[in-house]
Symmetry: C2
Subunit: 137 residues, 2 copies
């Protein structure tokens, strides 16, 4: 299940991507428009900034803005920052790999092989979808 953090993060990014110019938008503006708890959104936007997706400007007239154009931001990046691994099990993760404690042989593990398929398919979608695609719908 997708966390609210990720869901809200994507919604906020989409909101920013739909802006005509790329001038800073205040958290409160996004919060009201997308029905997201202000302080929760604040922490989400902060992590997006720390991970190079967003820039921010402090003080009056400040806010958050996209650092790249929406078409240059793949969903893989957004998902990995907000949700973490795209895989359903760590043992098939590309960026967050971890061996299973209970499983002696990965290549013989039924779960492993099934989840590899799921990962490949999901990854394919996220790789071929950019923030721009989300903004146009």
């Amino acid at each position: 299940m997708l966390s609210k953090k990720t869901k809200y993060g994507i919604k906020a990014l989409t909101f920013l991507g739909r802006q005509v110019d790329n001038t800073p938008v205040a958290i409160a503006t996004i919060s009201k428009s997308e029905n997201i708890s202000l302080k929760f959104l604040e922490s989400i936007l902060l992590t997006l900034r720390k991970n190079g997706i967003l820039g921010s400007k402090k003080g009056k007239g400040g806010g958050y803005y996209l650092l790249k154009s929406p078409s240059e931001i793949p969903m893989t990046a957004i998902m990995r920052i907000l949700e973490g691994p795209i895989s359903m099990v760590p043992c098939v993760s590309l960026n967050f790999y971890e061996k299973c404690a209970d499983c002696p042989d990965e290549s013989a593990c039924a779960v492993h092989n099934l989840m590899m398929q799921v990962r490949d398919n999901t990854l394919d979608i996220f790789r071929n979808t950019s923030l721009a695609d989300l903004c146009n719908c």
Copy 2:
């Protein structure tokens, strides 16, 4: 992320599906072979029984056994029982649908439309994979 419950459940089902005859297998046998905590596995097998996947026999020589042949058990059924919804958001779920509180218009929601794609792809895999496929690998 896949819960351990689901992972262990699938492993146990695979173990049962690989049995030559379909005679009852004790929880302890599966627990040892697959490195799964006995009491946790107990509760997992119980829910699989209550959901029509497994049968059980009490007393000496008792245990759990599959109610159908592995090829007749699709992964969709197993996943829904153990993990719940296959969708990443309730608003695109076929079997566990729930409207989002924050979202006024589903068809205009970027998250909704993206997760619909992911669901379709994942569902396709689970529909075309049966327990039998997992047993042969």
